[in-house]
C-alpha cells in the first residue's frame, strides 16, 4: 500500500487538489510512518516513470487525462521520487545526506510544476500543489543555507568585506522560483472560476516570509505594487480563504510598521486580528506583537489585562511596561525598557514602545493635577480643579517618578521642556507662563484630553 500514489490517483479521479497536494507533501505522517519509504521502494531510478505511468493507468483508467498533462504529472512525481531519495538518506547514511541536494532537487520539481501550469494545462483545482511545493521550497532553502553556512564558517575566509555573500544563496534562489509562481498566479487570464488568481495571496505570503528572512523587506513593496496594479482583475479580498488573507494583512501591516507608518500599519494589523482564527495562538501572538505598539502610538491606549493574559509570551513582553505606563512610573518604565531592550530591538518594536514614555509622563503629571485638588468655590457651584500649577510641583513629581536621589539635580528648564512637549503633542492642554513659573491648564475637564480630567 503506497499512500502517495493512492492519493495522487484518487486526487486525479476526484479532481481533488487537496489530495494531490497531500501526495506531494514530503513528510511521514503519524498514521503512515513509512509513507516516504514505501513510495521510494516502489521503483528504481531507471524505471520510476514507467512504474508511475502503469500505476496511474491502472488506478484511474477510466478517467481520461490528456496525454501531455499526464506526462507532466509523471515527470513531476518522478522528480518527487528523487527528492524523497535524498530525504531518506538522512535516515540511512546521514554523512551523505545534504539539504543542499534536497533543495536543488526540490527546486527542479518546482520548475517542473510551474511548467506544468504554463505549458501542459494543469488546471486550477490543483493549485494546492503550488502551495505545498512553494512552502517546502522555502523550508528546504533555509535548511540548505544553514547547512552551507555551518560548513563555510569552518573553512571560509571572508574575502570581500562587507558582503553577507552566500549566506542565503539558496533562499534567494527560492525567492526567484517563488516569484515565478507568484506571476503564474497573478497573470492567469482564465475566467475567475478557473483561474490561478486564487493562489496569489498565498504565494505573496510565501514571498514575504522569504524576503523577511533574507533581510530584503524592500522587495516586498514590489509585490504590493504588482498586486495593486492588478487590483481590478482580482477577486474581492473577502472571497479568498481567510488563512491567506490573515497572513497577507499581517505582513502588509508589518511592512508599514517598519516604515514607521503606524496609522496604515494598525489598519492592516487590526484587519488581520479580527479575521484570525481564535485557536491560532501563535499567529494571534505575532499580530499583537506589532498591533499593541501601534495602538499605543496611535491612540495612547494600553492593552487590557485579559488580552495579555491569553499569552504568556505577550505577558512577558508587555506586562511590566504597560503597568509602569499606567501608573506613571518613569523609573519602572526605563528599567523595563532596558531589561527587554534586546528582545525589543530584535523584534523591531523598540522605537514605538519608547514613545510610551510620553504616556507614562502624562499619567504622572496628571497625578500632580489631581493632587492639586479644587479651587475654593462659592456655595452651590460645582467645584473646579486648580488649573494654575507651579512648575516646581511637576519637578517634584519628576523627582519621585525617576527615583532621583538627593544629589540628582532636576533642571526646571528640562521640566518645562517635557511639559511643552506634552502640550505640543496634545497630551495636555494649557500653556506655560515662564516668567511666573506657572502652568495654566485648561478648565472644564479637558486639561488631559481623553483621561476624564
Amino acid at each position: 500500500m503506497i499512500t502517495i500514489l493512492e492519493q495522487l490517483a484518487e486526487g486525479q479521479r476526484e479532481l481533488s487538489g487537496a489530495l494531490v497536494a497531500a501526495a506531494l507533501t514530503p513528510v511521514d505522517t503519524p498514521t503512515d510512518p513509512n509513507r516516504l519509504r514505501s513510495f521510494y521502494n516502489f521503483s528504481n531510478a531507471a524505471q520510476i516513470s514507467t512504474s508511475i505511468r502503469n500505476y496511474l493507468n491502472q488506478a484511474c483508467g477510466r478517467v481520461k487525462i490528456p496525454k501531455q498533462e499526464l506526462n507532466a504529472w509523471i515527470d513531476l512525481f518522478s522528480a518527487y521520487w528523487k527528492v524523497i531519495g535524498e530525504l531518506l538518506k538522512f535516515e540511512e547514511s546521514p554523512t551523505r545526506a545534504s539539504w543542499v541536494q534536497v533543495f536543488d532537487n526540490w527546486r527542479d520539481l518546482a520548475n517542473l510544476l510551474i511548467r506544468g501550469y504554463s505549458n501542459f494545462g494543469f488546471e486550477n483545482w490543483t493549485i494546492s500543489c503550488l502551495y505545498v511545493v512553494g512552502k517546502y521550497l522555502r523550508i528546504f532553502a533555509s535548511k540548505a543555507d544553514a547547512e552551507a553556512s555551518a560548513q563555510i564558517s569552518v573553512a571560509f575566509y571572508q574575502e570581500d568585506a562587507g558582503t553577507d555573500f552566500g549566506k542565503s544563496a539558496k533562499t534567494e534562489e527560492a525567492a526567484r522560483v517563488l516569484n515565478r509562481m507568484f506571476t503564474l498566479c497573478l497573470n492567469d487570464r482564465a475566467p475567475l472560476e478557473a483561474s490561478r488568481k486564487w493562489g496569489v495571496y498565498y504565494m505573496t505570503n510565501l514571498l514575504f516570509k522569504t524576503y523577511f528572512k533574507i533581510n530584503a523587506v524592500g522587495l516586498s513593496k514590489n509585490l504590493l505594487r504588482a498586486l495593486s496594479a492588478q487590483a481590478k482583475e482580482l477577486p474581492d479580498l473577502e472571497d479568498f480563504p481567510k488563512s491567506h488573507i490573515v497572513a497577507f494583512k499581517y505582513f502588509v501591516g508589518v511592512i508599514y510598521f517598519l516604515d514607521e507608518n503606524y496609522g496604515e500599519a494598525e489598519e492592516h494589523l487590526a484587519y488581520a486580528w479580527q479575521l484570525c482564527h481564535r485557536d491560532a495562538t501563535k499567529n494571534r501572538e505575532l499580530i499583537l506583537t506589532y498591533l499593541v505598539p501601534c495602538h499605543l502610538v496611535n491612540t495612547h491606549t494600553l492593552p487590557n489585562k485579559r488580552l495579555l493574559s491569553q499569552s504568556p509570551r505577550l505577558e512577558a513582553l508587555f506586562r511590566s511596561l504597560c503597568d509602569c505606563i499606567r501608573k506613571g512610573d518613569l523609573h519602572g518604565f526605563d528599567t523595563a525598557m532596558t531589561a527587554s531592550e534586546e528582545e525589543f530591538v530584535r523584534r523591531r518594536i523598540y522605537l514605538p514602545l519608547e514613545r510610551g514614555r510620553d504616556i507614562a509622563l502624562r499619567n504622572l503629571f496628571r497625578k500632580v493635577f489631581i493632587a492639586g485638588g479644587f479651587e475654593e468655590t462659592k456655595d452651590g457651584q460645582t467645584p473646579i480643579r486648580r488649573t494654575r500649577i507651579p512648575v516646581a510641583e511637576f519637578a517634584a513629581a519628576l523627582r519621585i517618578g525617576t527615583h532621583a536621589d538627593s544629589r540628582t539635580r532636576i533642571d526646571i528648564d528640562e521640566v518645562e521642556c517635557l511639559l511643552s512637549n506634552l502640550i505640543y503633542k496634545g497630551l495636555m492642554k494649557g500653556y506655560i507662563a515662564r516668567e511666573r513659573g506657572m502652568i495654566v491648564l485648561s478648565k472644564g475637564g479637558t486639561a488631559f484630553p481623553g483621561t476624564g480630567v
Partner: protein
C-alpha cells in the same frame, strides 16, 4: 610575431586568422579586454572565424603532428594552456591562442622543439599578461627583463629556476580567479572590477558605457546593455550564480602586487584590471599616509587630500590589503570627510569600516559605531537605525561615545530638546560635525513646540540657552530666518519671542520643510 606564421596557418586554418594581438611592437597598446570572448554566445564582428573552445587543443595537437613530430612535453604544455585553472582574467582566450601558436611555430621553425624546457616555460597567457604590464610601464623598469617573445623562449632552458618562480607566482593569483568561470560574460565585467563594487550606479549609467566602448564594438556593447537590463534589479541576486551550477562563492580577481614607489598618486577610477606598476605596495602606502597626514595639517586642502585618500584606498583594495593599516586609512579619511562635511565620502568609509571592524582588525569601532547612529539620525533611516541598534553589544553601550549617541537618539525620539542640546554641547570625538548637520532641523522642531506651549512670550536669552546657540544675536538671526519679523519684540530692554499660534504655525512650516527626506550623494 615578426616572423609570421606560415606553417601553422597552412595546416590549421580553422583556428587561425584571429585578430592579431599587438605585442610590444606597438607600445601604445592599453589592455582593456577584461572579458573572455569565447564565453560570449554571439560571434564577434572583429573575429573573422569563431574559434571552438573545447575542440581547439586537440585540433591543434593533431594537426601539428601531421607535419612535425611534437614531443610529449609540448603536448602537455598545450594542454596546460587550456586548463581552466590556468586562465588569467584580462587575457582573452584568443590572445592566448595566438601567443601559443607563435611560440610553438617559432620553436618548430628554429628546430628547438626538443631544446626548450616546456615544463618550465611560462604559459602563453602569462606571457601575454606580462607583455601588457610591461608595455604600460617603463620598459627598463620591468623586472622581467627581456620580453617573452617566441625567439626568447629558448632562453628558458638556461633560465629554468627564475621562470619557475614566475609561473608559480602567477598560479597563486590564477587560483583565486578560477571560480569566476561559471559566470556569464556580462556578469564578469563587473566582477573583474571588483573594486568598483562599492559604487552603485544604474545600469544605464554613462560611466559604465565607457567600459563597453573600450572593450568591443558598439553592437556588442548594445547587446550587453540589453542583457544588463534584463538582469534581476537586485544587486544581491546578481552575485549568486542561479542555475548555472557554478560554485556559489566567486572570489574576486586575484590581488595585484604593486611596484610603484611614488608616494603621491591622483585618483583615477579604474576601468580595467589594475596595473602593478601604478599600484603602490604596503610599505610605500604607509609612508604615503604619513605624508598625507602632514600635508593635511599644513595645507588643509580637502580636494587634494580626498583625491589622495581615494587613490590610497584604491591601492589597498586592489591588493586585497586588509589589516590594521587599512582600518586606520579609512578611519582617518572618514574623520577628514566628516570635518569637511563630505557625507558621501564619509558614508563610503563608514560602510567599509563596518565590515573591517567585523573582522576584528583593531581601530576604533565604538567611536565609529557612535558616528553611525548619529548619521542615521541625520538621514532618518529608521530601518538602518534598528539594525545599528541590534548590532550593539552590552560593552559598546557602556562606551561613552556610543552612550552619548544613544542618548541623542532617545532625546530626539521623545522630543526632549532640552536634553538634546545639552548633549549637543558635549559631544565626544567628532560627532559634533555630524550633529551640526541636523541641529538646525531640531531647533525648528523645538521652536515649534515652544511657541505652542509658552505664552505670551519668552526671552531671547532662554532660546539661546535652551537651543544651544552661541549668542542672542545668532538665535535672533535664526528666528528671523525662519519666521516673520514681528515675532521678535523688545520689551523693557529685553528682546522677546512672541509665542503663540502664529509663530507656532510659521515654525511648524519651516520644520516640515527641514524634515523632508535627506538626500545625500553616495548614500546607499
Amino acid at each position: 610575431m615578426s616572423s609570421g606564421l606560415p606553417p601553422w596557418r597552412a595546416s590549421a586554418s580553422a583556428t587561425t586568422t584571429a585578430s592579431v594581438y599587438p605585442t610590444h611592437a606597438t607600445p601604445a597598446y592599453i589592455p582593456v579586454q577584461a572579458r573572455r570572448s569565447l564565453t560570449t554566445p554571439v560571434s564577434r564582428p572583429t573575429t573573422t572565424v569563431p574559434s571552438q573552445p573545447a575542440a581547439a587543443p586537440a585540433d591543434e595537437d593533431s594537426s601539428a603532428r601531421k607535419r612535425v613530430e611534437f614531443p610529449p612535453a609540448v603536448r602537455l604544455y598545450v594542454q596546460r594552456c587550456f586548463e581552466p585553472e590556468h586562465q588569467i582574467p584580462g587575457v582573452t582566450r584568443q590572445e592566448m591562442e595566438t601567443k601559443l601558436k607563435s611560440v610553438i611555430t617559432e620553436a618548430a621553425q628554429s628546430d628547438s622543439l626538443h631544446k626548450i624546457d616546456w615544463a618550465n616555460l611560462p604559459l602563453p597567457q602569462v606571457m601575454v599578461q606580462n607583455d601588457k604590464t610591461r608595455i604600460l610601464a617603463n620598459p627598463e623598469a620591468s623586472t622581467w627583463g627581456s620580453p617573452y617573445t617566441p625567439s626568447a623562449a629558448q632562453t628558458y632552458k638556461h633560465n629554468a629556476v627564475s621562470t619557475d618562480e614566475v609561473s608559480k607566482k602567477r598560479k597563486s593569483a590564477e587560483y583565486q580567479t578560477e571560480s569566476s568561470n561559471g559566470y556569464p560574460p556580462w556578469r564578469q565585467t563587473n566582477k573583474q572590477n571588483n573594486f568598483e563594487d562599492r559604487i552603485t550606479y544604474s545600469p544605464t549609467d554613462k560611466r559604465q558605457r565607457i567600459d563597453f566602448k573600450n572593450s568591443s564594438s558598439k553592437s556588442k556593447a548594445n547587446l550587453e546593455m540589453r542583457k544588463k537590463r534584463f538582469e534581476d534589479p537586485r544587486g544581491g541576486y546578481g552575485s549568486s550564480p542561479s542555475s548555472r551550477g557554478a560554485s556559489p562563492t566567486p572570489t574576486p580577481t586575484g590581488p595585484v602586487v604593486g611596484r610603484c614607489q611614488e608616494l603621491e598618486k591622483n585618483y583615477f577610477r579604474l576601468t580595467s584590471a589594475p596595473n602593478p606598476d601604478t599600484v603602490r605596495p604596503l610599505p610605500v602606502l604607509m609612508k604615503t599616509l604619513d605624508l598625507l597626514k602632514k600635508k593635511w595639517k599644513k595645507d588643509n586642502n580637502y580636494t587634494y587630500i580626498c583625491d589622495q585618500f581615494k587613490s590610497l584606498r584604491q591601492d589597498l583594495t586592489v591588493q586585497h590589503i586588509r589589516n590594521e593599516f587599512t582600518v586606520s586609512v579609512y578611519e582617518i579619511h572618514a574623520r577628514i570627510a566628516l570635518e569637511k562635511g563630505d557625507l558621501g565620502e564619509y558614508n563610503q568609509c563608514q560602510t567599509q569600516l563596518r565590515a573591517l571592524y567585523a573582522q576584528h582588525l583593531g581601530g576604533h569601532p565604538t567611536e565609529f559605531k557612535a558616528y553611525r547612529i548619529l548619521y542615521f539620525i541625520h538621514t532618518r533611516n529608521w530601518t538602518a537605525m534598528n539594525d545599528a541598534l541590534a548590532d550593539l553589544t552590552p560593552a559598546d553601550k557602556r562606551n561613552h561615545a556610543v552612550k552619548h549617541a544613544l542618548d541623542v537618539r532617545s532625546a530626539l525620539a521623545l522630543g526632549n530638546y532640552h536634553r538634546f542640546f545639552q548633549l549637543y554641547l558635549d559631544t565626544p570625538n567628532m560627532g559634533a560635525y555630524l550633529m551640526d548637520m541636523f541641529v538646525d532641523r531640531e531647533r525648528l522642531s523645538a521652536l515649534a513646540a515652544i511657541c505652542k506651549a509658552y505664552k505670551p512670550d519668552v526671552n531671547i536669552r532662554f532660546i539661546t540657552e535652551e537651543l544651544g546657540f552661541e549668542s542672542d544675536e545668532q538665535s535672533a538671526r535664526f528666528i528671523l530666518d525662519h519666521s516673520a519679523e514681528e515675532m521678535l519684540q523688545e520689551k523693557a530692554g529685553v528682546v522677546k519671542l512672541l509665542t503663540g499660534g502664529k509663530a507656532a504655525q510659521l515654525f511648524e512650516l519651516s520644520k516640515t520643510e527641514a524634515h523632508r527626506v535627506v538626500d545625500i550623494k553616495g548614500q546607499i
